[in-house]
Amino acid sequence: MNPENREPLLQPALKLHIPEPSARPGSAPDFTHLSFAAAGAVRRPQVSETARQMQDLAFDLIRVLDDTGKAVGPWRPDISAERLKHGLRAMLLTRAFDERLLVSQRQGKTSFYMQCTGEEAVAVAQAAALDSTDMLFPTYRQQGLLIARGWSLVDMMCQVFSNSHDRMKGRQLPVFYSSKDANFFSISGNLGTQFSQAVGWAMASAYKRDHRIASAWIGDGATAEGDFHYALTSAAVYRAPIILNVVNNQWAISSYQGIAGGDEATFAARGIGYGIPALRVDGNDFLAVYAVTRWAAERARTNLGPTLVELVTYRAAPHSTSDDPSKYRPSNESASWPLGDPVERLKKHLIHENAWSEEAHVALDQEVKEEVRVAAKEAESYGTLGKGPKPDRSTIFEDVFKEMPWHLRQQRDELESEQ
C-alpha cells in the first residue's frame, strides 16, 4: 500500500440521506419550497440563443397569467380568444371524460382508469401549439392530446371498455390509447420508453427531409429511467427536431418529486448538461404552456434541434383507480397547490378579456358533459369489460407477428378446441 496515504481524518461519521416530502398525512401541506417570480417576469430569448446562454431559464418559471387573469410579459402569446375558448372546451371535455370513466370504473365497466385532473393544460395547450401532423409520444396522462385533436370519444371509451369496437382488440390496459390517424403513439406500460423512441422518430423525420416534428412526454418520476438519458443524449447529438416534455406533477405514485432528484435541481436543468435549451413553465397556465411550446416547436422546425420543457403542475387525482393518496400525502394538498387550477385560470383570463362569462362557462360545462354522456352510451352499447360484445377471442393470436407462424396457429386451434 502507498505508505504516504493518510489515516482517515477525525471527522464525523458518514450518514445516509433519505429525502422526505414537506408534508405527510396528518400534517399541513407545505409548498414553500416552490418559489417563483411573478407572471411576466421571466425573459423570452430568441430561439437561436444557445443553451449555454439561457441556463437561467431552467431554474425560473415562465408564467403569463397573473392573479387577475391578465396575460402579461414577453411570453404572452399571440392567440385568438376563439382558439383559447377551443382550448377551454377541450380541457373541460377532458375533465368530464375523466369523471365519467371514473364512475364507469366504479361500476365495473372497466378494470382500471387514470385521470389527469389538474394537468389538463399540459396536453391541451401543447396540442394547440403543435401542428396536427406532428407526432405525439405521450404517457398515460395525456389523454387531453387526443381530445384536443378532436379524436372520437367513443373510440377512446371503447378502448377503456375493451369492447367489440376497441381497435386494440381488448389487449391493452384501459387508457393505453393508440391512434395512428391522430399521430398519437401507442402508449406503453413501461415508463419512459416512448421518450427515447420519439427521438428516433424525429431523426427519421429529419433524415427524410420532412417538416413534421415530434413531441414526447414523461413524468417527473420516470425521468430516472435510462430512456430519459438516452433521449437527451441522442436528441442533443443528432439535433433531433423534438420537444422533450417533463410533466412534473409532484408525485410518482407515492413518491414525491424529491425521490427523482427534484429537491437537488429542477428537471429542466437536466437539459443543461446535454447542451439542450431548457424552459421551465407553469403547467397550469394555458397561455404560458402554449407560448413555450410554440417557441420550442419553432426551434425544432428550423433545424435548431431539441428543447427540454419542464411543466410544473400537480397531480390532483389519485395515481390511478388502484391508488389511495390519503395514505401518503395530506388530503388537502391539492387545494394548497400554489399554481391553481388550469381550467379556472383560463376561464378567469377569458372573462378578464371580456370574451367569456360565468353563464357561458356553465353552459359549456353542461354541453361537454352531455357530449360525454352520449359518447358513453354509444360506447357501452358495444360492450364493457366482461359484459356484452367483445372482440373475437381468436384475435389473441393475431398481430404477434405480421403473419401468424405455425406455433401460434397450433395454439389458436388448441384454444378453439376448448369450445
Binding site: 382488440k169 390496459l173 384501459p174 406500460g189 419512459g192
Partner: protein
Amino acid sequence: MTTMNMAQALNSAMDTMLARDPNVVIFGEDVGYFGGVFRCTADLQQKHGVDRVFDTPVAEGGILAMAVGMGVYGLRPVAEIQFADYIYPAIDQLVSEAARLRYRSGGEFSAPLTVRAPSGGGIFGGQTHSQSPEALFTHVCGLKTVIPSNPYDAKGLLISAIEDDDPVVFFEPKRLYNGPFDGHHERPVQPWAKYPASEVPEGYYSVPLGKAAIVRRGSDVTVVAYGTMVHVAVAAAEMTGIDAEVIDLRTLVPLDIDTIVASVKKTGRCVIVHEATRTSGFGAELSALIQENCFYHLESKIERVTGWDTPYPLAFEWDYFPGPDRVAKALRRTMEP
C-alpha cells in the same frame, strides 16, 4: 403461529430479517413510507427507520446497481421491482453483474442481493402487469430463481433468499397474495386463512432453496408446477379423479431434480404446467431434463400446459390463463395410451 396471507408472510419475512441482521436494507419504488403497491413492505419503514426501508427513483437498472454495490460493501440488500414486467431495464445489472461477480473476481467479490418482483396474471393487469419472465433468469448461470406458492413457503423461502450468499430472483405470484387461486375465476375468492399454509410462525424460520415439495401424492402421473399453477394442478387432479402427484418446485435453479425424477420414474407420465409463454419457457428445460433422466420410464409423452406465445391480453385473461380445464385435458391425454 399466526394466520397470514402471502403478502403478510412476505412482510413478516422482511420484518424478521430487518430485526435479525443490521445489514439488511430494503428499497424499491414506493416501498418506503407507503409500504409498496401490494403492501408487502407496509409499516416496515415506520418500524425500522427511513435508512433501512426506503423509496427509490423509478429506475430499475439503478435499483439493482445500487443493490450490487451495497452487496459488495457487505450489506444484504432486498430490492423490489414493482412488477416483474419492469425488470427488463435491470437485466444487465442482474445478468452481467450480480450473476457474474463472484466468478469473474475469483471469489473475491459477490452480490448477495435478493430481487423481489410480483409476477403472473389473473388480476386484469394486461400485458405489462401479468408477465412471468422466470425462464429468462434460469438461463443465466449464477442466479437462483425462486417462486413460492403459499404463505408459509413464501416467508421461509424469502428468509433463505436473503441469507443466501448468491443473488436470488424471487418472483411472487401476485394472484396468490390474498388467497390461493386454482384458476376457477368464476368462483368467489377464498382467503388464505382457510388453508393450513397460512399458519405462519411469527419469528425466524427458513425453507431451504433447491428443495421441491410434493403437495399431492399420487401414482398415475407427475405434475410439475410452481407458483399459482400448483393450485391449478391440484384442482385439475381433483376434477379428473386422476391420481396425480403434484410437485411444487419452489426453486427453479438450483432445481430439485431428484424429487422430480423419482416421481416420474414412479408414475411414468408427466405434465408440466406454467403460466409463462410456452416457447423456451422453463417447461422446456423441465421436459428436456425429465426426458434425459427418465427416458425408459416414460409411458406417454411429456405434456406442457402453458400460457400462449402471445402477450397477456386484458379482455381474454381467462382464455390465456392455463386453468384447470386445460390442465385436466392434458392429464387425460397423458393417461390415454
